[in-house]
């Protein structure tokens, strides 16, 4: 009897698999938000007749690739992250990684693939023009793929950092103070330090500090000594390259916070979003240290406009930046009475007028190379 039925084992396995997931889809509790993807998952479909006949119901269930919306079934599929990770490693095992946006590099590094340079010329021109009005310093953070080239897998495309930095040197006008971080980061890496996280695209706190020291020569301040900082380690940091690549077996990073020894420095942070202003008495937002992606601990991540005030220092500085600046600005805050930090992806007002009303003459433009070569927000700079 037993032998007779064993030959139907494949059918039984198929039925168990199909029905188990069918039932689990219906009974498992649903999450509203995916922390890994930083987005809200699809809402429960609206089973109304109107929705059914307009075809909307189907889009809510299956997703709508034209509108770029994912469907309820795939968003809430049981063991979803297991399957996503399984798929990533399956493709990796075949060397089939062309469709991924990341390189699975040596020693646990997950590195963003090379960028294109569609906006490079425009952005250089915008900065050249802007330097006629204000005292502009430009500094670009090289890509992890370029600095950590020896970690990349054999089949990779070359990063254009060398060409881009050469172009900056020749095409920036004399009125732009240029601070070269390409060499700084390469030297930093050669000295045995880790300039970038393994599971996140950002640079590490010590790397940002090395850049801070380098910038002192151009901006004209005396950098704080490394020994003045109290260093705290935060383990289990799973960053953006981890969550978007699907390489879920990767080991987490450790994030370092370097804080000034005396906490009574009196630094305050004002975050502006639209009409509202919130004031904080620390540059480190420790609630983010309990999340998988800890990087927003620095200045609470991306905001349109942020002011950092230090009553114990003098001078004002405008920082136009992407998120790489967040790890660096806390160091700068020791040297300026007020830093106004804007993000051109969200800040849509006239920057010259802002400088005039704030009484600012010095500007630091700090971008990662990939954003600098692709960002369209910078073209609003005038």
């Amino acid at each position: 009897m037993k032998n007779k039925f064993i030959k139907f084992l494949p059918a039984a396995v198929f039925l168990v698999f199909t029905f188990a997931f069918c039932i689990l889809i219906f009974v498992l509790p649903k999450k509203d938000f995916s922390e890994m993807e930083k987005r809200y998952l699809a809402d429960t479909p609206d089973f109304s007749a109107k929705n059914l006949f307009s075809g909307e119901l189907v889009k809510e269930i299956d997703g709508d690739s034209e509108a770029g919306k994912s469907g309820y079934v795939s968003d809430h599929f049981p063991m979803r992250s297991f399957f996503v990770g399984f798929n990533s490693y399956y493709n990796l095992s075949f060397g089939n990684t062309a469709n991924s946006d990341y390189y699975f590099a040596k020693d646990g590094f997950i590195i963003t693939k090379p960028y294109e340079t569609p906006r490079l010329d425009t952005n250089i021109e915008v900065i050249n023009n802007f330097s006629d009005k204000l005292n502009v310093t430009l500094s670009i953070v090289p890509s992890a793929g370029n600095v950590l080239e020896d970690k990349l897998p054999l089949n990779h495309i070359k990063y254009k950092d060398t060409e881009v930095f050469a172009k900056l040197k020749t095409e920036l006008k004399g009125s732009v103070n240029y601070c070269d971080l390409h060499k700084t980061m390469k030297d930093f890496y050669r000295s045995g330090e880790a300039p970038y996280y393994k599971t996140d695209h950002h640079w590490t706190t010590p790397a940002a500090f090395a850049a801070y020291k380098e910038l002192g020569g151009v901006l004209g301040y005396t950098p704080t000594e490394e020994s003045d900082f109290k260093k705290t380690e935060y383990k289990d940091f799973y960053g953006t390259t981890y969550s978007s690549s699907g390489y879920f077996l990767a080991k987490p990073d450790t994030l370092l916070l370097w804080e000034q020894g005396d906490e009574s420095s009196g630094i305050t942070v004002e975050i502006y979003e639209g009409e509202s202003v919130e004031e904080y008495d620390s540059m480190f937002f420790e609630e983010h240290l309990t999340e998988p992606d800890m990087y927003p601990v620095f200045l609470d991540g991306n905001h349109s406009l942020v002011k950092i005030k230090n009553p114990q220092a003098q001078g004002k500085l405008l920082v136009i930046k992407d998120s790489y600046a967040h790890a660096l600005v806390p160091f700068l805050a020791e040297n300026y009475g007020e830093i106004v930090m804007i993000d051109m992806r969200y800040f849509k007002e006239n920057v010259s007028e802002l400088c005039e009303s704030e009484g600012i003459g010095d500007v630091l433009i700090l971008y990662s190379i990939s954003n600098f070569c692709t960002d369209t927000g910078l073209s609003f700079l005038e």
Partner: protein
């Protein structure tokens, strides 16, 4: 709905299986009819009415033809005209109007209706019933529900095989669902799912990644791109046919084999005996032979071939590149009939294989570009018009897809089938089958969960 979606596999299919098997045998066709309409209406519920009208027309036509010997030709012509006019209106009206608008004195403003999925497939199926009743190759179906079940049967509804009524006539009323059939259905369904999700979708991405590098196609890169298209089209379409046959077996049906390893052909004539067999036989039986086939002299035979291939091209899509594609094969097949076959038969086997696969691949290039200037640019790049061999980015993409391309090439041959035949009666065969199921299910589910990207290239049919 498409088979290679989570909704089909994990919601629709289990519900259908439960409904089907808890229903007593006599009422199972009602269940099949209703769930098939739901399957069809998923996404485009309005077109269910179109489907019902098609069923009604062919039911009435079949009935009238069987009733009256004298007027049966009239009823046949009427039903064929009605069937084809739906197809022409929904599929070809846009093409016809835009062609007319090319004339300087005509300017029609017209927005073409959305194409009801599978209309080319089910219209041909429905017509085969009416024509076969006329030819007295089958008896009239008095139960509209049975005819409705035949036309809407969800496994082959939207991408074939084009099942002829005579082939499933008895199965529609007397079919036996057995565990044996169910198991082989599961294996076939999963094999098809694997072809579609793990191969065809990957080759689609390969072509996309190659063409999106933006610096034009080098010679090597464009042939790699064409290989990707060639493998994608085969695994997509034959995967879908396998899933259809597998699903059919799960509910007791047996449909014809639609693909028989077409890429191992040694001539284009052989290729068309192995590619989309249900379509070629449909055109043979309902167009070529009625036109006289090869019985009315050689000139007439060539003319008949021309008509068949013009229509075959058009059937694949309402765009002139498909016409060109059909005529391309007409020319090759005519040459083979005239003299090429003799030469190929004498030549070493390898010559026939290379000759066939190159012509087939060039055919897919014509098939894939509905924009003529893009097509000529791509054909040019195959022969070095765009300079370089491949850009750095394209070389990286090609290297990345190399293993799966090799797998695709091997799986286009009967190698696995031959190996499976050798072990299928062994004691451990069931373990191999079970392992195969588990691996395919995990990989396909993982891929489907990961990618909302799931282009289904046969939708335009």
């Amino acid at each position: 709905m498409v088979f290679s979606s989570l909704t089909f596999w994990f919601i629709y299919l289990p519900l259908v299986l439960v409904l089907y098997y808890v229903t007593p045998k006599k009422a199972r066709n009602i269940v099949l009819f209703l769930v098939s309409l739901a399957f069809y209406g998923w996404g485009e519920p309005v077109y269910i009415s179109l489907m019902l009208i098609t069923i009604l027309i062919n039911y009435i036509a079949g009935y009238l033809i069987s009733k009256s010997q004298s007027k049966k030709k009239l009823w046949l012509i009427l039903s064929v005209v009605l069937n084809l006019s739906f197809l022409v209106f929904f599929k070809y009206s846009g093409m016809i109007v835009s062609t007319l608008n090319l004339l300087p004195f005509i300017n029609i403003s017209f927005s073409a209706p959305a194409l009801p999925i599978g209309i080319s497939f089910y219209t041909f199926q429905a017509m085969s019933y009416t024509i076969d009743v006329y030819r007295e190759e089958c008896s009239v179906q008095k139960n509209p529900l049975v005819l409705g079940t035949y036309v809407t049967l969800f496994p082959q509804l939207i991408a074939g095989p084009i099942v002829r009524y005579t082939d499933v006539e008895t199965q529609l009323t007397k079919r036996k669902e057995t565990l044996e059939k169910f198991k082989s259905g599961v294996l076939l369904f999963l094999a098809g799912m694997g072809k579609k999700v793990l191969l065809a979708n990957q080759f689609a991405l390969m072509y996309k990644n190659l063409s999106e590098t933006g610096d034009g196609f080098g010679v090597l890169a464009s042939w790699a791109g064409l290989l990707a298209l060639t493998l994608q089209i085969y695994f997509d379409f034959s995967g879908y046919s396998d899933m259809a046959r597998g699903l059919g077996r799960m509910i007791g049906f047996e449909f014809m084999v639609n693909f028989n390893y077409p890429y191992i052909s040694r001539s284009i004539t052989e290729f068309w005996r192995r590619w989309h067999i249900s379509l070629s036989t449909w055109f043979r039986d309902y167009v070529y032979i009625p036109l006289g086939g090869n019985r009315k002299g050689f000139k007439r035979q060539i003319f008949n071939l021309f008509i068949v291939w013009l229509l075959t091209g058009l059937w694949h899509g309402a765009s002139y590149n498909f016409v060109l594609w059909g005529l391309y094969f007409f020319v090759i097949l005519a040459c083979e009939k005239l003299f090429l076959s003799k030469i190929l038969n004498k030549a070493p086997k390898a010559v026939g294989h290379i000759y066939s696969i190159v012509l087939i691949m060039l055919g897919w290039a014509i098939f894939s570009f509905d924009n003529m200037s893009e097509l000529t640019a791509f054909l040019g790049s195959l022969f070095g018009a765009q300079g370089v061999v491949a850009t750095e980015a394209q070389a990286s993409v090609m290297l990345s897809y190399l293993p799966i391309c090799l797998a695709g090439c091997v799986l286009s041959t009967p190698l696995i089938k031959v190996l499976y035949e050798k072990v299928r009666n062994a004691k451990y065969a069931v373990l191999l089958e079970t392992a195969f199921c588990i691996v395919i299910m995990l990989l396909c589910t993982a891929s489907l969960v990961s990618e909302s990207y799931n282009p289904f290239i046969y939708f335009r049919f």
